[in-house]
């Protein structure tokens, strides 16, 4: 019952916030309290193994809470609260909160769903309402992005539905369960179809085309939840399909897993490259988000105990640092009204807390200790090395280099360099944003130093399906390749930093410059001359990679759309005649029927 009550609570809170729409203060209080209540209700009342079935007469909706649904549910609900608190600073109407709550309801119900039809139902619910959330976005292009997002998610949903029907047709069971005993290529087809919506949600290439636009054009605070939270449904789906639906995949289709890992690695690398080409902070982060989720796919594709542990840990890490980055950018947008990197710069002294948040965010994104990004990447690299696929390993290593590049571009574009004239009086981001930033910094650092806190539940999820190879306690990990102590790694990192700082302080001859100063060699220039360098930041890289980058997936998609347009024109041509033409159709039709049926007449 607890799961049903939780979902009901969320729907009711959504409706109440909608009704209270114009009374802003009351609405915000209700919305906030609702989310917090839901979070604590989730933590206290929902236990793994809980089963509930809701009979709506025409269908039995089955719910089951497993370890994995608990894990992702907590992440999603927590991020929802952070999104909600920050969103109170924006101009939103009641419908916005209704849609937000229904999106969350759909997402949690997807995690709990035990049978495929309910799964589809809630997946579509989530897609529909998150589409409406994007539709209510901030810019003129949000309509186009929302539309794209809708079509892609529904495409994924329908692929899933097709897989569902195939599964039900061959196994006579609608429950989520093993299909590996099925004969021949059918199970592979079902597998691919069932995996499609999650590849869309987790923006695995080539299903990622909606993501940069939708992330960019949705409202800034919603993007925090959208990128950090909703994409976790995709990761959850990977886990569901690869472990629960097809238990023997590693034996039967190792090549499928290999292809999946490669797709993940290509996603990570290509999106990384796309990311450092962007001049818009949100779009850069969108590609960064896609890239990070690529690592998760790699982890699943390698399919060993600690690669999957690494993937799930990285999914959590992604939720923490990517949300943090989006939240900081949202705060910056709130103050400066821009996300264009070329129009910002030097905000470090104006928004110090945001700077610290972003700094740790990018450190985690690059996988540097002592942050949450480090343990997962460490494990993933070990898994790759043990697997022995050199090409794949080097591609993933290359992808992490791109993370350094776009991370630096982000921090430089917003916080470093010359302060813009119009941003001289910018203040720190308001309380809602600051709250989220501080809250997210805690797991970011704590889990980087003592990852055992989370490795334990993750190990519980994975242990059931794969042979445990990973020894761990709170702060240590033992792998076939060796041993790592995270606090020590963190300490070394800290000492190195302290040492560099020390050397910098005693040895450097520094000249103190104002943030607005211009400094060039030989030539004198005006005070207000623009010297902050953020656009075309990696122009030389663009030259180097330019040609391959033009082979975009979008072109393939457009060819496909053209085919449909052509078919549509042909179909429409049929209805363009006048009455005589239509008369001819009728006569021709009956002549044809008489001919075809001639033998029987």
């Amino acid at each position: 019952m607890a799961m049903f009550y939780l979902l009901l609570l969320l729907v009711l809170v959504g409706i109440v916030s909608f009704v209270l729409g114009p009374i802003k203060v009351l609405r915000n209080i209700i919305a906030f309290l609702g989310a917090v209540t839901a979070f604590f209700y989730f933590l206290t009342n929902i236990k793994p193994g809980l089963i509930y079935s809701l009979n709506i007469r025409v269908y039995n909706v089955h719910f089951e809470a497993g370890f994995s649904s608990m894990f992702f549910g907590v992440i999603i609900t927590a991020l929802f609260i952070i999104f909600l608190i920050a969103s109170f600073h924006e101009e939103n109407d009641g419908a916005y909160y209704l849609f937000a709550y229904l999106t969350l309801t759909g997402a949690l119900a997807v995690l709990f769903a035990k049978d495929l039809i309910s799964f589809f139902f809630f997946f579509e619910t989530m897609s529909l309402f998150s589409f409406l959330m994007v539709l209510k976005g901030k810019s003129d292009t949000s309509f186009r992005s929302a539309f794209k997002y809708l079509v892609w998610s529904v495409f994924g949903g329908y692929a899933f539905l097709m897989g569902t029907f195939l599964k039900v047709y061959y196994t006579h069971s609608v429950m989520i369960g093993d299909i590996s005993y099925l004969a021949g290529g059918v199970k592979l087809l079902i597998l691919i179809l069932l995996l499609a919506p999650f590849a869309v949600k987790a923006a695995l290439m080539p299903f990622h085309l909606w993501a940069p636009d939708a992330y960019k054009d949705s409202k800034d605070t919603f993007t925090v939840f959208f990128s950090g939270g909703l994409s976790k449904i995709g990761v959850f789906g990977y886990f569901l399909v690869l472990f629960k639906v097809f238990t023997e995949i590693a034996v039967k289709y190792p090549y499928f897993l290999k292809a999946f890992a490669w797709l993940g690695a290509i996603t990570a690398a290509l999106s990384g490259i796309y990311a450092f080409m962007q001049d818009d902070a949100k779009k850069l982060l969108a590609y960064s988000s896609i890239s990070q989720l690529g690592y998760v796919a790699v982890g699943f594709g390698i399919y060993t105990h600690f690669s999957v542990v690494a993937a799930l840990f990285h999914a959590l890490g992604h939720a923490v640092f990517e949300s943090l980055l989006f939240l900081v950018v949202a705060g910056v947008y709130y103050r400066t009204k821009t996300t264009d990197l070329r129009k910002m710069g030097g905000l470090i002294k104006r928004m110090p807390l945001s700077f610290i948040g972003l700094l740790f965010g990018i450190i985690a994104t690059s996988g540097i200790p002592p942050t949450i990004g480090f343990p997962s990447k460490w494990l993933l690299y070990e898994a790759l090395i043990l697997k022995g696929d050199l090409l794949l390993t080097s591609l993933v290593f290359f992808a992490s280099i791109t993370a350094f590049l776009y991370s630096y571009k982000l921090v430089h574009g917003i916080f470093l360099g010359k302060l813009h004239e119009e941003h001289k009086n910018v203040k720190e981001a308001p309380l809602g944003y600051a709250f989220g930033t501080v809250v997210l910094l805690v797991p970011l650092l704590v889990l980087g130093i003592i990852p055992g806190l989370v490795i334990k539940p993750i190990d519980y999820i994975v242990r059931f399906y794969l042979k445990p190879e990973l020894g761990y306690n709170l702060a240590n990990m033992n792998t076939p390749l060796g041993h790592v102590n995270f606090p020590v790694v963190g300490l070394v990192m800290g000492l190195t930093f302290a040492l560099s700082l020390f050397i910098y302080l005693i040895a450097g001859k520094s000249y103190r410059a104002e943030q607005t100063d211009n400094y060039t060699a030989t030539e004198a220039i005006d005070e207000d001359f623009e010297l902050h360098y953020a656009g075309e930041f990696y122009g030389f890289m663009k030259k180097a990679f330019g040609r391959p980058l033009t082979w975009s997936f979008e072109k393939i998609l457009n060819a496909f759309l053209k085919l449909f347009s052509f078919l549509g024109e042909v179909a429409r041509g049929f209805y363009m005649g006048d009455a005589r033409v239509y008369l001819f159709y009728v006569i021709a039709f009956f002549a044809l029927l008489a001919y075809l049926m001639g033998g029987k007449l």
Binding site: F143, L150, V168
Partner: protein, 486 residues
């Protein structure tokens, strides 16, 4: 018990009363249709408990069935006639707010509903031809009642195709009469095993021509886009929500009850697939929203006929239940779309997507209602369309045509594409604001309530649809309850 024959008699009476009332006052005629529908609905509802599994027989001229004309009402017909009268009531209430109409319009409207109800209730095949003619001729008039070039063109095309269809239909009846010597549906059904195969097929094809025009099957539906486009928005609603529903009923009754499956359903299967694919693809490229809705309507009817034809493979109650669910979703969802499109375009015939841009934001209620209708038609969760679409897919799975599920899903994606495009455009930028008066708004809200309420709690509709489906499937009960013994 009030005799259901009054539904027909009273409608005729009211239609004749209209010109008399028109002489008294210009305002009176428009009050007549809602009154007539209310009385009819009351009559039908009092009869619900008398209609059991078989058909309720209503004799005329005091003679038993094979000789005299009779009405034969089972639960399947009752469901359809109530649906027709209900939508008729809603539409006639909608007309209350419009005072620029000719009194002849109300007569045509009443006759139209009368024709549709007659088709659904009659147990006599020649009688069904008469009602079909009443329905079609009044529809031509209704389509052309807008009196501009497009409306006249649509009406004319409809008339040409419709006239051919109904004369072929008549020919089919003649063939059946020649071989069986009877015009009573039950009697013909009973004698069906004795008719030679080739004559059966010939008759079935001829009847299909007449019905195909009404249900908008592929080569016979060329009139539909023009007629839907040219007609007023309410008339388009009527075309999609009432007239095509009578066609579905007739198809089920003739090809299932009388012909008991047979080749005709196989032909309908292929025609349904072709209609579905061609119409939805045509809608994809359409820039004119009303025409797009027309194509979408044709496509939905194609899906409906396709599902209906599956009953031949396996006499499954679920398949017919699905047909009813799809019909209900189409009646309410598409009706809502046409009506709200009228409100969004301000009734001035600007249906191009560019002209409608932002109108949903300027007219939030109409925009919301259009969105509800579109989401229900594409089958989004929490709308009635979800259940009908899932049922359609389950029917396809049950009858082992699994490849068609893929086709239906691909075409559904096409539907999402063009409806999504319209919805997104409706809320983009600044639009023109048109007022909406309270009566049409209330009618549209009732349409929307149907798809939302039963989308959340579909069980009552499933139950009703199922009991109606059972009474269609048990054709022997139908036959024996009318002419006894089989």
């Amino acid at each position: 018990m009030v005799s259901p024959i009054l539904v027909i008699a009273l409608s005729l009476f009211f239609a004749f009363v209209i010109p008399l009332l028109g002489m008294v006052s210009k305002k009176l005629p428009r009050l007549v249709p809602p009154l007539a529908m209310l009385v009819n609905l009351w009559i039908l509802i009092t009869n619900i408990k008398f209609v059991s599994r078989g058909a309720m027989l209503v004799t005329t001229a005091g003679l038993k069935p094979p000789i005299a004309i009779n009405l034969a009402i089972d639960r399947f017909s009752l469901l359809f006639v109530i649906l027709i009268q209900l939508i008729g009531l809603l539409l006639s209430v909608y007309y209350l707010s419009q005072d620029n109409r000719d009194q002849r319009f109300y007569m045509l409207f009443l006759l139209n509903i009368l024709g549709a109800s007659g088709i659904v209730m009659t147990g006599d095949i020649f009688n069904s031809f008469v009602f079909l003619e009443i329905l079609e001729i009044s529809s031509f008039g209704l389509v052309a009642s807008k009196k501009d070039r497009k409306a006249l063109e649509g009406g004319f095309k409809y008339m040409v195709i419709g006239a051919i269809g109904s004369s072929l239909y008549l020919l089919g009846i003649i063939v059946l009469y020649l071989t069986t010597g009877s015009l009573n549906m039950a009697e013909i059904a009973k004698l069906m095993p004795h008719i030679p195969e080739s004559i059966k097929l010939f008759a079935a094809l001829l009847l299909l021509a007449g019905i195909g025009v009404e249900v908008e099957l592929f080569p016979l539906n060329a009139w539909a886009p023009d007629a839907y486009h040219g007609a007023k928005d309410e008339i388009s609603t009527q075309l999609s929500s009432i007239i095509s529903k009578a066609g579905i009923y007739l198809a089920a009754r003739i090809f299932f009850t009388i012909f008991n499956g047979f080749y005709a359903l196989k032909i309908i299967f292929y025609l349904g697939v072709i209609t579905f694919v061609i119409a939805e693809l045509a809608a994809l490229m359409q820039k004119n929203v009303k025409r797009m809705l027309a194509y979408s309507s044709i496509g939905q009817m194609g899906l409906l006929m396709l599902i209906l034809s599956l009953v031949a493979k396996r006499g499954d109650v679920f398949v017919i239940t699905t047909v009813i669910l799809l019909a209900l979703n189409h009646a309410f969802g598409k009706g809502l779309l046409f009506l709200s499109l009228g409100a969004l375009s301000g009734g001035n015939g600007e249906y191009e997507i560019e002209n409608l841009g932002g109108n949903g934001r300027a007219n939030p209620l109409a925009g919301f209602l259009f969105t509800v209708g579109a989401l229900s038609i594409v089958g989004m969760p929490f709308f009635f369309g979800f259940w009908s679409k899932i049922s359609a897919l389950i029917s396809l799975m049950k009858t082992n045509v699994i490849y068609l599920i893929a086709l239906v899903l691909v075409i559904s994606l096409v539907e999402i594409y063009y409806y999504g495009n319209v919805i997104v455009n409706l809320f983009r930028g600044e639009g023109k604001k048109y007022g909406i008066s309270i009566v049409p708004a209330a009618v549209m809200i009732l349409f929307a309530l149907f798809v939302i309420v039963f989308g959340i709690w579909p069980h009552p509709v499933f139950q009703i649809a199922q009991s109606a489906a059972v009474s269609l499937i048990e054709r022997t009960t139908y036959i024996s309850s009318i002419i006894g013994g089989m």
